[in-house]
Every structure is written in C-alpha cells, then in structure tokens.
C-alpha cells in the first residue's frame, strides 16, 4: 500500500513548484489510529478531532480549540469546499479523526476526504430501493465511529458498518421494514461496546424504538420500544390498540453519561400527528426524554414534555448534558429547548424537573406546572376547519443541534416565532402509508415571522440575549473556547457571534440554506471550522500569514 505514494514522492519532489510540494504533502499525512471507547469518553481532550455527531458524549458541541477566537474570527477565509455530487440538501455534520473527514450525503452515501484539502479518499454509495417511504426529504446527518469502523443509518432503515480506511462494507443489517414506513436518517451513538441507534417514520404509524447493535457482527443486542407493550407501565396511556401505530420515532442522536451509565434519547410525536381522537391518553413515551441503562437499554426514567400531543411537537432534540451551579450546589442536568417552545432544565440522575419557561412564541399552553407538565390552553387542538396555533408544525426549534458553552454557562438554540393553521382529518391506518390525520397551513409569508439565536441561562431558564435572523433557520450551533458561537441561517449565511454578548463578529454568504450544524477540528496545528450549505461542505480557517 505504501510503495506507490513513496514512488510518487520522488517524482513530485523533483518538480520545482512549491505549490505542488505542498499539495503533495497531504497525500502521505494522516496516521489514522483506531477510535477506542476511551478516546470517545475523553473526546473533549482531543479537540483536534470531532469524533461523533455532537462532538462529545454530553453533546455540548463545545470545542476547546481557541486558535480562532473573538479577536481574529474576522480573519477567517475559505480553505476548501467539497461539492456533494448528489443534488439535495445536506444535513451532514462531518466527523474528523486524525486528519480524515467523513461526510454523509443524501440520500444515504458516505465519503472520506482529506480534512485539510477536501480531496476524496473513498466513497460509498448505498443502494436504495425505488419505493422508499420517507416523510421529509432524503437526509442523512452523520456517522458514528468505533475502532476503524464507521456506522451509518440509511433511508431504507438499514444500519451499515463501513471500513474507515477503504469504504468497504463490513456488514449491512435491516433495522426495520422500510415498506412499513420505517427509515433512518440520524447518526448512531457509540456507547461502550455497542452501536446505539434510533428510527424514523413517525408519519407512517410505526412503533418507535431505540436499538443497540454489536459493532463487530451487527447483531441486535437490545431493543427498547418508545411505546410500552401490553402489560408494561404506560401502555394504558393509549386507548385501544392505538399504541401499535403510535409513532414515537427516535430520529435524532442522543447523549450518554459514562458516570451514570445512562443514555438520553428524545422521542417524536404520537401518531397520527394531528388527530388525537383515536389515541386518547398521554401516549407515553411519545414527545419524551428517555433515560436508558447503558448496558441493557432498560428505561431508568422518562420525562414527557408534551402529553397527548396533537401538534407534532416532537421531542427530537439533542439532549445537552452539563454539571451546572443550581440554587447553591452543583447539579447534573440535562438541558432541552423543545419543539413545543418551552426550555427545560432537568436533573439527569432522576428526571426531576428543575426549571422551565417558554423561550419562543407559543399559544398552546398557559405555562408549566411544578412538575414541568404543560397547562394547556383549552380549544387549541386542530379542527376540521383549521385553528391558528403557535408554534407551527415545524416548531419553535426542531432536530437541529443546540449548543452549550463551558465558558459562559449558556445554552444556545435556533428559535422560530411562528404560527400556523392546524387541520384535523380522519384517516385509517394502512401499513406503509402516511398516517398523520391532518396538516398545517401558513397564513402569512415566512418573512412576516421572526427567528433568533437565543442564549438561555439553564439555572433560571431566562433568555440572556438574542440575535435576530431571517426565518426560519434549521442550522445547528457549535461553541468554542475561542468565545464564539458558530451557526448558520435559512438565507445562506454562516456566521460567528460573541458567546457572551450575542454580538455579531463575522459572517459570510454561502448562498444556500444551512440545514446542518457546524463543527470544528484541527490538522497540523491549524484550526478549521466546517459547515454544509446547500449541496456543499465548506471549510474555513484563519488566513495564512
């Protein structure tokens, strides 16, 4: 394997142009080393790598890199771009290990590139059936890595293991039947010696679950359903047989606390989305945070944000874990800005509700009771004629990652102050068909609404600052030890804010909607920050001196 590059070395060094020598150096650079569980647990201490979807197991998306900081961020320039060959939107958050970047692409493909140049090592195209059942676009958001193996979800509801050095398929297992409406879009999460992964399909009357697979063989180790079966606690929160088609998909990546050995994972809307008449009850564990035992998948506790949801307020947000000062003592908490427009701080050992307030426009609840349960405004359920409710179906936020800064102690979220008419329809369940029971309609142009990046104090649930942007962004957030909040916007900007004050530090127009979260890494001592916009992955660094 090495003989060919060495041979080329001689040829290139003989050439007089300095540029060609520099270009060549990247060919022989990366000494890719296996990603052990210990490395993943301590990911924060090797900030040159971004080894999982949310950067670290606590999903703070906080990087210790500070070469790019509030003083010099205006010196950023584009270093390279990678054009995804399949035209579609990119929701990918790349993973970087030892100078190699792994980029997932629509519909279910994966590419490895040199993280310093964006030039391709290998590419994996996943073969898909033509009759996919997907609700909301051909998306893939990222991979997980353990050892030298990458793990990727695919739209036909498979989990694929791929050799990180070559792109060869090591195994490919069916997680669920795509013809019944199951699909997969989210990056898996490594928990010790298992690949933990969720499922999508909440608009098709699926029964959601969280799975753990053996990374070597692809065998299913455990499955925890997000809807309890008969005889299990919570099954009686569904009328009749509605639990069988109740949705509660698990379509975004969760988090893990190694000390507590608990996995935290969000669940989606109950199905059908907008007609709750056929599924009376709280509909556990839809729209919830689940805490699962890291070895067995057993549910340790749950917190349901929106009981008996009829507005599609998925709790498909990435849980952020941090230890914060709360009422005079250090508390292990989980922070969650929900699609339902409320922000929650929850004790992650017990699931106890600590703080909660609306962080965006909402008209469906009067507030939260002392246990964090919403107090509903009567008469806000969807009707046949339509009823105006805030937030709209897309939510006050959604699946795109929030961030947390260890410097400021603030939680950052992309928020939307919108409203929509909600309609109810009567539908019978048919396997593989949409099962939503209604829909929504905007009655104003999108430009009439407001969006902001909001910074929330998790100890009080109060908004510390906000930075207005045009609606409706679906970009995630990354924070750094350089004092920066990086994010993007619906109108195609990538920008940097001061994490403490919210002041704009830098922006650049990339020209197409940002559907992804930024991530940051370093190669050979130089920090980079990467964002996907439209169909392109852009990487920025400080200007060379």
């Amino acid at each position: 394997m090495n003989r060919f590059p060495l041979l080329l070395t001689g040829i290139f060094l003989a050439l007089p142009l300095q540029a060609q020598e520099d270009e060549f150096q990247t060919v022989i650079t990366p000494a890719f080393s296996p990603v052990t569980w210990e490395r993943l647990v301590n990911a924060e201490s090797e900030p040159e790598n971004w080894m999982m979807y949310s950067g670290t197991l606590d999903s703070q998306r906080y990087s210790r890199l500070d070469q790019i900081n509030t003083d010099n961020v205006t010196e950023l320039e584009m270093k390279w771009s990678y054009q995804i060959p399949v035209i579609d939107r990119a929701e990918t958050v790349p993973t970087v290990v030892d100078g190699i970047m792994f980029i997932t692409e629509a519909p279910s493909n994966l590419t490895a590139v040199d993280a310093r140049t964006g030039r391709v090592y290998w590419r994996y195209d996943h073969e898909l059936p033509e009759d996919l059942r997907i609700c909301c676009g051909r998306n893939n958001r990222g991979v997980a890595i353990l050892g030298e193996t990458l793990f990727m979800s695919t739209l036909d509801a498979h989990l694929v293991a791929i050799d990180a050095r070559t792109g060869n398929v090591l195994w490919d297992v069916e997680v669920a039947d795509y013809e019944a409406g199951y699909s997969k879009t989210a990056a898996p999460l490594i928990v010790k010696d298992k690949v933990v992964t969720g499922i999508a399909g909440g608009e098709f009357g699926i029964r959601g679950f969280i799975d753990a697979y053996d990374p070597v063989t692809g065998e299913l180790e455990w499955r925890t359903y997000a809807i309890p079966g008969p005889g299990e606690p919570g099954n009686d929160s569904w009328s009749g047989d509605s639990w069988k088609t109740g949705g509660a998909a698990t379509w975004i990546t969760g988090s893990y606390d190694p000390d507590l050995n608990l996995i935290y994972w969000g669940t989606g809307n109950p199905g059908p989305d907008w007609n709750g008449d056929v599924r009376l009850g709280d509909n556990l564990y839809s729209d919830s945070a689940l805490a699962l035992n890291g070895d067995t998948g057993e549910i340790a506790w749950h917190f349901q944000f929106t009981p008996h949801d009829v507005h599609d307020y998925d709790s498909i947000q990435v849980p952020i874990l941090a230890d914060i000062e709360y009422q005079g003592s250090t508390r292990k908490v989980m922070m969650w800005a929900n699609r339902n427009a409320f922000f929650y701080t929850i004790d992650r050992e017990t699931g106890e509700f600590l703080e909660g307030e609306a962080y965006a426009s909402q008209t469906w609840a009067q507030g939260l009771d002392p246990n964090g349960r919403p107090i509903r405004v009567p008469g806000m359920a969807p009707t046949y004629e339509g009823i105006l409710v805030s937030p709209p179906i897309v939510g006050a936020t959604n699946w795109y990652s929030p961030g947390y800064s260890q410097q400021t102690g603030l939680f950052y979220v992309t928020s939307f102050d919108g409203e929509q008419e909600f309609f109810k329809r009567d539908e019978d369940y048919e396997e593989g068909e949409r099962f939503t029971g209604g829909g929504g309609r905007y009655n104003q142009p999108m430009d009439a609404f407001h969006s902001s990046i909001r910074a929330i104090n998790p100890a009080t649930a109060e908004i510390e600052w906000e930075f207005p942007i045009m609606p409706r962004s679906s970009a995630g957030i990354t924070t750094t030890a350089g004092g920066i909040v990086f994010t993007g916007s619906a109108d195609g900007y990538f920008f940097a804010l001061d994490a403490a004050s919210g002041e704009e530090l830098w922006h650049i127009s990339l020209g197409a909607r940002v559907h992804a979260a930024p991530m940051t890494f370093a190669v050979d001592g130089q920090q980079f920050v990467t964002i996907a916009s439209g169909n392109v992955v852009y990487t920025f660094g400080l200007k060379d001196n």
Partner: protein
Amino acid sequence: MGNLTTRLGRLATVALSGLFLATSGSLAEDAGNLYNTNFDINAGLRYFERQCSRCHGFDAKGNDETGAPDLTGRLTRASTEVGIFNIIRTGIPGTAMLPVASDLPDAQVWQLVAYIGSLSTNPANINLSGSLTNGASLFTNKGDCNSCHMIDGQGGRQGPDLSRVGERRSPEELLSDMLNPHADVAPRWWTIRVTDKSGLVREGLRMNEDSFSVRIIDDDANLWSYPKNQIASFERVEESTMPSYTQTLSDSEVDDLVAYLFSLRKEN
C-alpha cells in the same frame, strides 16, 4: 433498464387502452383524465392532504425548505394532465419527489391530477363580462397602471410585471388586488425605510432582505444594498404602494381591467 421499463409501460398502455383505467403502475400517454368530477377532485384532495401535503403544504403552495414547488399556479415540470400523471406515477429521479406506491390504481392518480388541476384556473372555463379592449386602454390611460407595471417590456418598475398575471391570479384575486391592495401584499412589495448613520433616510420597495443585509429599489429605480450593521435603523412598511381603484374607476371599468389582466398569458 429505465428506458426499457418506460417503453414496456407505453406498450402496455397502448395494448390495454380499453382497460387502461383498471390497471395500475403504468405511465399515461394521451388517454386524458376521465376522473375529473367534483367527487374525483375531492378524492384527490383527500389523497393530497394525506400523502403530499407534508412537502407541498396543506394549501399546495409549496415549501422553500423542502424544495417542494407551489402547485397552485403554472407548473414548471409538466404542462399537461398526462405530464402531471407521469410525475406522480414515477416521481422525479434524484429528488425528494418519490413515486406514489406502485400498487396505487391509476384511477386514484387521475383523481390527484384532477385535484391539482382544480388548484389553477382554466381560462377556458371562465367567461368574463368585461371588455379586453377597454381594459387594455384603461391600463395605459385612465388607470395609469403602466406607470408602475410592465407588460411585455413596456411600463414602470414599481409593481409586479403583469405580462403573465393571468396564469397566477384568478379573476376574483385580480378584483381584490385592485379594490383592496393592502390585503395580501407579498414581502417583495413591502416598503423599507432605511436611516443611515448620518440620519439620511432612503425609502424603496423591498427587493430582498436577509439576516445581515437589505436591498431596495427607490422611486427613481436606483438599486441600494445596505449591510444591516452599517445603518442606524430600518423600518418595514408591510403595505402596498398601489392605490385602491374603488373611487377612481367604475365597476364596469374594473371589470374590463380584470378581463384584460386575466387574458395575459404566455400563449397570448
């Protein structure tokens, strides 16, 4: 393989033309839509709400975020019922527009075609009382519409180009636009008032606004672009600059203008 499938589909369509409506999964050629009664349109609506509205919107007006186009006006990918049928049946490769289930009967696809057809106004079905000739004259004379609007390259720049307005606005909407212009103003026609750091105020139509900048066209058709962080303030006026014609034109004159505007289409 795709070509072969398509050709086989066509052969099957021809061979089974008498049984065509009972089959499923084939492409349509030119049999036309026999499923276009109100019952069919309602059936198509129900299917649309369930299967299509997630991307195209409950009102079929599209969604920038999903990339799903507005289906209520002129369609860009298909100009005939057969073309719409084929897109629904086969999807659009390489996009999120997936085909409908292969076992969905053709009759149901045709009902969906009928519903989509019902979203736009077929001029052949509209008989307006107004005079096109009078309307054309009013447009450039008494109504003075052409001082702000262009038709086929002639006219002003302070309002939408109306060269093909009949394709996107129904007669009822055109009437409302003239009598109550502030009712439904697209953001493109809002007014932006910018105050720069020296206190100078400049006003113009909102050509575009984003998170960090705004662009306007002023009364003299000058184009201005402002970074938001380099101005003192800016204000949106979410109203139309167009006057209401309630007082200035008679009912019959308004009818003439509606008839004229509704006649403005590509084929004319």
